[in-house]
Symmetry: C2
Subunit: 595 residues, 2 copies
């Protein structure tokens, strides 16, 4: 059975030594989270994930969810009790403002805890995760009445939440949504239609489920401009707080999927269900995007989470499995063979995962801290800059962390050889589970288009300009530091590639937008490598400072891992640039019939 | 349900226009296979695969194989009838020499048919495929008596074959094998031990199964030098041709795997089973390698096969699924949205698969033709050169075609969005099935080490020198041809990278062999890109000649696809070179405890 140990020490290093969280003490909620409290919270989260959730991961995969003839859905053995621990610990609301019943702690903590949850049991973690997304949308767009009625119970986890966007004929293209809303004299609406791929759509973990549903009000314009967002509870809460009769929403079936079997992916049928408008009429897409942006960062974290747990298991196996001898001569002559970690190609795979994971975690925390600044700072300029960062980096984190996270689960499985292909070791489950984050909350191709087609040019390129300025200033400031040169010089080269690619789009994509589309995925990955390389430079700097102050071997390992990153992963930027600059001609030339 | 159409036209183009199979007419068996007969055979194979085998692919995945309490194993519905068609058509023996009951046709035909079979139903195709491997070993190493007793029935497919290498404590490191053989007075042996991961180890497709088993004769040296290969039939054939009592070999259990559920992967228990020596005592490994080399080429073909069928389905879906509008303006205003094939990022994915598949198929046929020369030419020098080619290219084909084949199934699944994650569309099965070829018959890391550690230096580097000479001569000869320059110039650059990498190993890996190990996987992929790039240059040349002679749009599509390859896939060679030249330092520096 797979092992998991939450990387608490690494998180503490990042928060304290790389990002100096203490400098944010002026933000609301941060003063309530001094380093020792943060460590204590992370320790509790680690315990929950390691002891309660990880052991249920394989059970969840094997049993899956079951829809009964009466429409009820039951989750795998142990999920209900484990969800009780989520509720008891108040984990869903740790970063929710206190006015809505949360603990108001920095949202960076939520991202960290979500990484731990995702590593331990991704299918399970989606139940609280989706609830957090729904809470975010209600906080920003809900009326005070809706907020009062739903948020307290969602923040505790007593009720859970879902997002209902997809329909059989539309996933990416929400303008094609057909689900209808008809206004009632009392101001509520009747919602009718079919939604598919609804994660956590029906289950037995909570007595009520709060669906957020995109639908079209009778007579609304076609396309995305005519979409409105509704709250549709499974049971309508009564004024006295009790639950009323079942609403007209039922689970029609559960999808048979490649993975995340422990999460119920439902076809939801709305048959005149009572719904209440969130935000204004025809403003549904904007409200949904609030939810989606939170969710996209969270999905990126899932990619990291699976990469981390897969890495940990591959490393443990590589130290244990005896096979062959080191090329440089037997290392353990008393054993029938050496452990496979002596083989350079096995190391290469392990170091690749590790070098990625540590930088990806840094990128997530850096961006999550920006989210806190964007939501909590009293300085408008600072808020705007932080918001620009988030808006720019969210598609990069979603796309790159899930693509590479998946690739790393495959590499980790490979270290197990044939045993990795057998269900028993659990490695193939990581691969199957890691496949979905590349698809949902906007497939990665859409993330790349969002980055290239929307985020680069937004506000006159303010966000990308600021990112370049920061990275370039860093390279300039530290380029002369001999100890940091191995990290900063390759970062400078990679940053140059990203700038050239950005320039190339500016010069070649206005007249021929296909040039942007054909280069978008490469650009997203090029951007990701630069951002991760920047994280490595900053981590190396912090590690060198700690070593100078007498720190342990862990900081030496950081420096080696960072060197591996710049030597082995960063050179890919040149290939991405070449592909981008090739343009769209050969990509677009064939007629559709030729395929 | 997935669709499949065997690429007969593409094969005919490769055989006739690129590799000029008619120039091999002097080889035994080739004169019996004029172009029209080859087309007829391929047409029959296509029919079998499209109509009979492809429809069973999902059934096989859903039902899997069942082990009954009495040890019998039954295959999914329809497999037995389909296997009857394999036997009736004589498909297993099309390239087996006529003296052993085969048709003696070029072995290139077997590789082509195996691609079709693998695309249609990989789990099913393994039953005849493994039989072919066992036949190959018996032809080269079996005594005339063993050959007479087993080959006729195996060549027809009346009996099937298996390879038994792996044990719980050893996969890659066969020196650790513990299965014992004890010589009997009658010259036979008693075999005792446990083998795991035995594909097609037990099933109901044939009345007898011929296991080839690696074991250690009592008193034999430790390590790989003490291994011998044995034939262990499920039922011992009697002199009158009937089957005797059951031998002491049974299926202990069936593994639960990630994919290829239609193939029974067995734990095989040998309990004093009667076995007969193949080759000489302690020569088992060499005999097993005969079988393995055939098998490795076949496994590479599986990677291509799954990539091809995944591509076909992704292309069909992309032409059908309506979502969004082309960036350059709506293409189908009468429809609610454009088909997603209008989007450059979807095209990029499709073109990547296609550009790979067409070149991979060329590489397989080029190499399979060399196998025919190596086995059938009367000219010793020609035989040796062909054998060098095969020996060098086999690990490249196995490693690169399965790694990239898997990546392509993932990319094809991505085009389906959320629908690709649902079992119903069949796309996720391709991903799960495509995962195993990267592992079995020597995990891809082992292929890379075989290439770098063994094949490069073998016979003073004769094989790689010849490969470089041929590719360089081609680049030189056609470098000045303006029409071919777009293909040949990038090939020259990529070839330069491969030569630099080879030189770097020569200079840096003798003193520090870890430098070779740490760069092996990158080298294998670099080699693959150069080999595929060379195939594209030759295909482009043939396509231009055909176009000049008035050929159709298919040849224009070839030229565009080739351009996509050199613009979008080939630039990766520079990154591989950079990674190789980084050496092993950061890869090997951390102590094992740091992981």
């Amino acid at each position: 059975m797979p092992v998991y140990k939450a990387p608490v020490d690494d998180v503490v290093f990042l928060l304290s030594d790389v990002f100096h969280i203490e400098r944010h003490a002026n933000l609301p909620g941060f003063a309530d989270a001094p380093p020792d409290l943060i460590e204590a919270i992370l320790g509790e989260a680690a315990k929950l994930c390691e002891d309660a959730l990880a052991p249920l991961n394989r059970v969840g995969d094997q049993q899956g969810c079951t829809r009964h003839p009466d429409g009820r859905v039951t989750t795998p053995d142990g999920f209900k009790e484990a969800f009780g621990q989520i509720v008891a610990g108040g984990w869903i609301g740790i970063s929710v403002p206190t006015e809505f019943g949360g603990q108001g702690l920095p949202s960076v903590l939520t991202q960290i805890v979500n990484e731990f949850l995702g590593s331990a049991n991704m299918a399970f973690a989606m139940y609280p995760g989706l609830t957090q997304g729904a809470i975010a949308a209600l906080i920003v767009h809900g009326t005070p009445e809706l907020q009062a009625r739903y948020l307290p119970k969602m923040v505790t986890g007593e009720w859970t939440g879902t997002m209902n966007l997809t329909e059989p004929q539309c996933g990416t293209d929400l303008g094609l949504i057909r689900t209808k809303a008809v206004k009632q004299p009392d101001g509520s609406y009747r919602i009718t239609g079919t939604k598919i791929f609804i994660s956590a759509g029906e289950h037995d973990l909570a007595p009520n489920i709060v669906h957020l549903v995109l639908a079209r009000i009778e007579g609304a314009p076609a396309g995305t401009k005519g979409l409105s967002l509704f709250v549709v509870p499974k049971f309508v809460p009564q004024p006295d707080g009790s639950l009323g009769a079942p609403n007209g929403v039922t689970c029609g079936s559960i999808e048979e999927k490649m993975g995340i079997h422990g999460n119920s992916t439902c076809v939801m049928n709305y048959d005149g269900a009572a719904g209440w408008l969130v935000a204004s009429e025809n403003e549904g897409l904007r409200a949904m995007f609030t939810m989606m942006n939170e969710a996209r960062l969270g999905v990126g974290v899932q990619g990291l989470a699976l990469s981390e747990v897969a890495y940990q298991n591959a490393a443990a196996y590589a130290k244990e499995r005896l096979q062959g001898r080191a090329i440089t001569g037997a290392k353990f002559k008393d054993k029938p063979a050496d452990p496979i970690i002596v083989h350079p190609d096995v190391r290469r795979a392990l170091m690749t995962m590790r070098a990625f994971n540590e930088a990806a975690r840094a990128l997530v925390l850096w961006t999550a801290l920006k989210a806190d600044v964007a939501h909590r700072s009293s300085d408008a300029k600072e808020r705007q800059a932080a918001d620009d960062h988030m808006s720019l980096l969210t598609p990069v984190i979603k796309g790159v962390l899930t693509d590479q996270g998946f690739a790393n689960t495959v590499a980790a499985q490979q270290i197990f050889g044939g045993h990795g292909y057998i269900k028993e070791t659990g490695m193939e489950q990581f691969v199957r589970d890691a496949r979905i984050p590349m698809i949902y909350e906007g497939a990665n191709g859409i993330q790349a288009l969002d980055l290239v087609g929307r985020k680069l040019a937004k506000d006159g390129g303010r966000a990308i300009t600021a990112f370049f300025a920061e990275a370039q200033a860093y390279v300039k400031q530290h380029g002369g530091d001999a100890a940091l040169t191995p990290y900063v010089a390759p970062l400078g080269t990679a940053l140059g590639h990203l700038q050239q690619a950005t320039m190339w789009f500016a010069q070649n994509a206005l007249a021929k937008p296909d040039n942007a589309g054909a280069g978008a995925t490469d650009y997203m990955h090029l951007f990701g490598l630069v951002a991760l390389g920047y994280m490595w430079a900053r981590m190396a700097q912090a590690a060198q400072q700690k070593l100078a102050a007498g720190a342990d071997d862990r900081m030496k390992a950081k420096l080696v891992t960072g060197r591996f990153f710049v030597e082995r992963l960063l050179p890919e930027t040149g290939a991405h640039l070449a592909r981008i600059q090739a343009g769209a001609a050969s990509t677009m030339e064939l007629p559709a019939e030729a395929f």
